[in-house]
């Protein structure tokens, strides 16, 4: 009997796993000897659709197994053979993809892509809910908190506050009614770790939250997951039902006095709801507006009661720590940042996906060894970390180790784990403008500095990218940035200027080129570039003239075409369509 395990997360489905699965079902329908199961994403998103073949306890991982390859694949399986050039992972065969996994340590993600997330039996077989059982049967709430404190686990949502301390505050708050919240509102554009975790192993997050609830004395828990993640919502809902049916959640868990009821709330799309007081308002059914702290939610949170809030990855760490001990966890990482961190690799990197590395790994190790460098072997310019709250770290600082303090020292933040790599074609002024336009949209409008200040910064950045920048603009951006940081109540405003300030710090020359020379070095900003047809390459095929939406590309068949710069809107459609590389951007 061969077990075929197909990666069936959002990313896999987008890459064609649905078609592969349909074809597989078709092909093996009449054939005995195959068992087909769905699982999450093993992190190698760049190779999806992915299928594991498990026979006699050995796993062959196949990549890029699109529907058209299924017949050949099953044919080989039936003959008892393997198509080695399609294998991307195997314990005894070396493949081109080994370096992707070599530097990783999987604690949080170890079961993602292995178990069927919709079947609690798989999670239990992998040791699931053993940690919850252990704390309920053998540990006092204080012992649990002491263990988490000793592990050094810090919040994985971005700010990096000690998880054990946070639990202690909530435990010490004098109230009988307390709440636990799991922040699954992953709003950073460029981050998808929490989606992948919730889709691939929702029980690990439930178990972590339940252990926390036991420790702080909460009887109710809320999962706040963004509605843009329908599959994560669905699988989490199934997991809560199954865990309740087995008695891991609900009244008198495992026969003890500990009870916990869980609710799932779908976030309706507001970035600011990643901030804990805004998130609490949102769960209460209101506009997600942050409020002043103190009092902190640990004292007065949801419905005015003591509330503990952690993000998905933080909770997913907890069962491992309880089962393996604080010491085993603290073995990984640096002096101040223990354990591992999950990252989402994206952008111009060759191998995009979800990875988990020990804290202390350098950015360069991630880019070179795991990600295999930049697409088309171009030079890397920077990596964006921390989304709209973070910053761009330039390539020359890629020896920076991943830990909270080192990343913060660069002007970026650890953030929740999005890493978007950029090459020479990325304009840093445009990136700053992009993030500011995001923040302007997402600012809740409560604080004047955030509401108006970010808008003013955006206006300046738009002016610069349009070639109308003024000499004093850079200073003005820095001045406004500092004022917004000081004058904003919540994390959104306090960090909104970061993308601008870090790009000015490291890429000031690009700002100056836009302002003084009216040039965009990356050839991205439309007002500062022109499209031109190279006469020696143009064959007169007319493709550019056909696709041009404004009639700027002109010419007769078999004659050299031209682009009228007066009409051209620099949309770039002609360049995408040209098969002879005859269109240059200058």
């Amino acid at each position: 009997m061969k077990t075929l395990r197909i990666g069936y997360n959002s990313c896999g489905i987008a890459a064609g796993a649905e078609e592969t699965l349909a074809k597989l079902n078709d092909v093996i329908a009449e054939k005995p000897g195959f068992r087909l199961v769905k699982t999450g994403c093993n992190g190698m998103c760049y190779c999806e659709p992915i299928i594991d073949v498990i026979e006699d306890g050995v796993t062959y991982t196949y990549g890029n197994l699109t529907a058209d390859k299924v017949e050949k694949f099953i044919d080989a399986m039936e003959k008892g053979m393997h198509i080695k050039e399609w294998v991307i992972k195997h314990p005894a065969i070396s493949t081109d993809h080994d370096s992707y996994n070599a530097g990783q340590v999987k604690l949080v993600t170890r079961n993602i892509g292995v178990i069927d997330p919709e079947n609690i039996g798989d999670y239990l077989a992998a040791g699931g809910y053993k940690a919850l059982e252990k704390v309920i049967r053998t540990m006092s709430p204080q012992q649990v908190i002491d263990e988490i404190k000793a592990s050094g686990l810090r919040g994985r949502g971005g700010a990096g506050f000690s998880c054990g301390m946070k639990w202690q505050f909530a435990k010490d708050a004098p109230d009988d009614e307390k709440y636990m919240i799991c922040n699954g509102d992953e709003g950073d554009p460029g981050a998808f770790m929490d989606r992948s975790t919730l889709e691939g192993n929702p029980h690990s997050v439930i178990e972590g939250l339940a252990i926390g609830a036991y420790a702080v004395g909460a009887r109710e828990g809320f999962f706040y997951v963004r509605a843009e993640y329908p599959l994560a919502v669905k699988r989490l809902r199934i997991a809560i039902e199954q865990a309740s049916a087995r008695g891991f959640i609900g009244q008198n868990i495992l026969g003890s006095n500990f009870s916990l009821h869980l609710h799932l709330v779908e976030g309706a799309g507001a970035f600011v709801c990643g901030e804990e007081t805004a998130l609490i308002s949102s769960i209460e059914g209101k506009r997600g507006m942050p409020r002043t702290r103190p009092p902190y939610p640990a004292i007065s949170g949801l419905w005015g009661k003591p509330t503990n809030n952690n993000n998905v990855e933080t909770y997913a760490n907890v069962p491992w720590i309880i089962q393996n001990g604080a010491e085993a966890f603290a073995k990984y990482g640096t002096k101040t940042s223990k354990g591992t961190k999950v990252f989402a690799l994206a952008g111009k990197i060759k191998r995009g996906g979800m990875i988990e590395v020990p804290m202390g790994t350098t950015i360069n190790e991630i880019l070179t060894n795991i990600g295999m460098g930049i697409q088309n072997d171009r030079a890397c310019k920077a990596v964006q970390m921390g989304g709209p709250s973070g910053g761009c770290i330039p390539f020359h600082l890629f020896d920076t180790p991943i830990d909270y303090e080192s990343i913060t020292a660069t002007g970026a933040i650890m953030g929740s784990g999005g890493m978007v790599f950029m090459d020479e074609d990325t304009c840093m002024v445009d990136i700053a403008r992009y993030f500011l336009s995001f923040t302007v949209d997402e600012s809740c409008g409560k604080c004047t500095f955030c509401r108006i200040g970010t808008k003013k910064m955006l206006e300046i950045l738009e002016r610069i990218t349009k070639g109308r920048g003024r000499e004093e603009d850079i200073e003005e951006l820095q001045r406004l940035g500092q004022a917004i940081i000081k004058g904003s109540l919540c994390g959104l405003g306090q960090t909104a200027p970061n993308p601008v300030l870090t790009t000015i710090r490291y890429f000031k020359h690009e700002y100056e080129a836009h302002i003084k020379d009216h040039k965009c070095p990356a050839k991205k900003c439309r007002a500062l570039i022109t499209y031109r047809i190279l006469p020696d390459k143009c064959t007169g095929c007319t493709l550019c003239a056909k696709i041009c939406p404004v009639g700027a590309a002109q010419g007769e068949r078999k004659k050299i075409h031209i682009i009228d710069p007066e009409i051209c809107t620099r949309c770039g459609f002609c360049k995408d369509a040209c098969k002879f590389e005859a269109i240059a951007v200058e």
Binding site: G190, A268, A270, R287, P549
Partner: protein, 158 residues
Amino acid sequence: MENNLSYIEDVLNRYKGKKGSLITILQQVQAKKGYLEQEALELVAKRTGMSTASIYGVVTFYAQFRLTPIGKHLIRVCHGTACHVQNAEGLTEAISSELGIKAGETTPDGLFTIETVACLGCCSLSPVIMIGEKVYGKLTTDKARKIIRDYKKMEMAS
């Protein structure tokens, strides 16, 4: 003709007296028709005892809620960071020019709506778009045009 709002009754009954359920109610009401009609908001206000203004405040705060109807096929073009650096803007323009409408608009035949969104969380496949529930990744402007044309053909055939 009186607008039939019976589709809201179920939702309202299910959450009657449950605190903090306004957003969930609005999500479920919107799920029925694709948007929130004014009469629906007024009914929700009446039943929950909240003012229409405060409900409108919540509706306009969150990106998920819509006050106007959408086309049969909702095309969401991801403008997350990874998609942005991989030319999401060009993709949006290509789809716009293919359909003759701008982002945020619906085609006159009511078939397509284009929307730009912050992040769909499929960054490793950037740039991506989502049509209905289906995600298309690793796109170029050419591929995106082809997908839209296929949808158009499918609609013509049906």
